[in-house]
Point group: C3
Chain length 321, copies 3
Amino acid sequence: MNHPLQPDQAGSLKHFLTIEGLKREILVSILDTAEPMTEVTDRSIKKIPLLRGKTVVNLFFEPSTRTRTTFELAAKRLSADVLNIAVDTSATIKGESLLDMLRNLEAMHVDMFVVRHPQSGAAHFIAQHVAPHISIINAGDGRHAHPTQAMLDVFTIRRHKPDFGALRIAIIGDILHSRVARSQIHALNTLLTGEVRVIAPKTLLPVDVESLGVKVFYNLRAGLKGVDVVIMLRLQHERMQAGRLPSEHEYYHRYGLTRDRLQLAKPDALVMHPGPVNRGVEISSSVADGSQSVILEQVSHGIAIRMAVMSMALDRTRAAS
Amino acid sequence: MNHPLQPDQAGSLKHFLTIEGLKREILVSILDTAEPMTEVTDRSIKKIPLLRGKTVVNLFFEPSTRTRTTFELAAKRLSADVLNIAVDTSATIKGESLLDMLRNLEAMHVDMFVVRHPQSGAAHFIAQHVAPHISIINAGDGRHAHPTQAMLDVFTIRRHKPDFGALRIAIIGDILHSRVARSQIHALNTLLTGEVRVIAPKTLLPVDVESLGVKVFYNLRAGLKGVDVVIMLRLQHERMQAGRLPSEHEYYHRYGLTRDRLQLAKPDALVMHPGPVNRGVEISSSVADGSQSVILEQVSHGIAIRMAVMSMALDRTRAAS
Amino acid sequence: MNHPLQPDQAGSLKHFLTIEGLKREILVSILDTAEPMTEVTDRSIKKIPLLRGKTVVNLFFEPSTRTRTTFELAAKRLSADVLNIAVDTSATIKGESLLDMLRNLEAMHVDMFVVRHPQSGAAHFIAQHVAPHISIINAGDGRHAHPTQAMLDVFTIRRHKPDFGALRIAIIGDILHSRVARSQIHALNTLLTGEVRVIAPKTLLPVDVESLGVKVFYNLRAGLKGVDVVIMLRLQHERMQAGRLPSEHEYYHRYGLTRDRLQLAKPDALVMHPGPVNRGVEISSSVADGSQSVILEQVSHGIAIRMAVMSMALDRTRAAS
């Protein structure tokens, strides 16, 4: 299903809920808007007045200091006022109390909700029920999507290797439970990437994974051959406990990215990871900190991408009002 | 007892602790100051420099994300710096440690404390012991007062029905334990409201309730007849446990505001509630969300009233210094 | 060991980790920079644009609302953006996860970490491992140092008695466990104070205490005789439990500062305390609140000193970039 909610009638960005269904032009426009934002965060006075007098609410139903921090910094550097609201996760997403909370925050004339929630579809549900003047940014919902993460990933790739059509990109790890992987695959395919591979044991792959437009590899060495970009995913400890994997040691033995294995990729292949890194579980320290790693660039670009998405979404609102 | 602490010698607002004892002119002046503030929060750049360089401290001895958020937003939209301090409730209000905390914050040159406390009289106690340059706003103390809530309520009424002398207004629910009701009654009487009614079972009414200047009804239908405004109160769950009420179901049966009962009031009667609403306990969803409900307007006006009170209190201070 | 990390090659302040090893000129320059800052916090609009567009991160591995508040206020009054990050203390200071966290915050282009940590040396460790563009301010590390506290103390002394060479100053209490005392002793000796005394029972003194350049007194009355400044330390309750002291009552009996004992000092002797005060344990209420006490001045000056240190450290960075 496409998400008619996302771009408004005029085709500009209103909410940012998922990559799926967005046109290539919109993704490129986000990437282009983020370029000058990297200069803002590089300079001495890291502040522009684009969102002065706007109120951004971080509505986190799932704790994440890391993600919350990047959105808070992005909003503050755009001169917005920021409210952090940590919501009790026991509140069900579709209960009256959530809707009443939304109505109340709307009535306070806030302009944007950055939503993180453990249930898939939460950001969509909120976007469907929110007042027309408010923009929703999905900061991760269940296993569904994490669109700003995927955008900062493709932004990082484009800065090094701008011709997506010529690229082979492998995503390695727990594809099944990863909202990050799902959003990355949609973004890479929308940008017409030459080949998108996923590498994982069968127990960590969705049954319909090929339908997402990827080539599947169960063997790490085979999958790494000749790729331009290696994207690692974080392995959640609870996967072990759920019996989907024998042990961290065994996982590292079969799927961990080591120096030795990285040599199967192209010599200038990029190594990426959404963080936080599990050293010695999905990746060795020498690769995570090595010369091919762009993991910290991803973090920097995360601020720029979030500044871009926030300003595009609220600019639209402003123009409309 | 009047509260000589509140308006200073020159008659302008210094602290805002309770409605009781304030002259009609001061209430009207707060309402008039709030009018242009509603325009500030309606426009695209919701920020004015009135309190730039001032420091507002939210000093909450009782957690309330909702109330704290409205004060924080109001202060930020006035360009003040805001510090949120959650204080351990186990600290007794009159202990040395509280006074030492006040002395320390004073020495940091903060300008205003927004105080919420489970004990009645806490805001007064703090106002009596604070340095002369600091203003205190009572954001709810025990069963005593919640003056900004009452002011946003009368502000909302005035916008729809400006002639208070011609109005019959009913307050329904737990009058006994409600600081909101107490402040509303004082505000409505000070503004010379035609008739103020309270409707509740005997167990939820103070013994001396008539002395507050209200007409008492135990029967909901009788009390609703011909009123211009219906103000519902939130029913606290602990009242059931304390044996003051048989059950929520029974309460709704006798005192819940339904569509049917609302028809006893005037056809254009306003429905109000301080929130959060207990649907199906004190009010039906269809009434809470119905065309006569101004519950969300109350929330919006809460920001404007708090901006008005904060700027009036600190303006005085500024002029004096 | 000197700390070559602190002042940079050009001799200006980069980090502020400890007083030990800093030249007298740097201390005087901090004190001189703080002077006009006291005027900023005294005036109606307490805000200057010195750090506009800078991001200050309060990185607290040990909770302290009080200290965090003074740094937050100082940063906001310099117009910086402030992020508060409370870090789980269970994380070991030298673990990979801490380094990864530093790398991530660096990548977000923050400018300063204000670090508080229960382990001695934590701020140094972070300063050694942080990117060159970031300044570290030590807000207290284990028993080691609390340099901004010591600077606000000497600032307060200088405002009353500017000729340090003519002063006899006594520090009273738990010298052994106190990072505050350690930093005060270094600051006072660097400023060439006439005589620095420490007064404590043997169990609360380091074995090598004379090597710090102080005169030791076990008897309070003897130590107080003729001093110009009396600096009290806070007695931690856990010292009783650890068996180092018989009881609070016994401690007060032997080392508590009472009106009577204070008369042994010079008639115009200053009484100081870093707060929060334990009334009736290390000091009587009448002395803490008496006319010789400058305890609340210390709090006020704490904001000015922190504004001075922050602006000096980031000015350097700015000039270099």
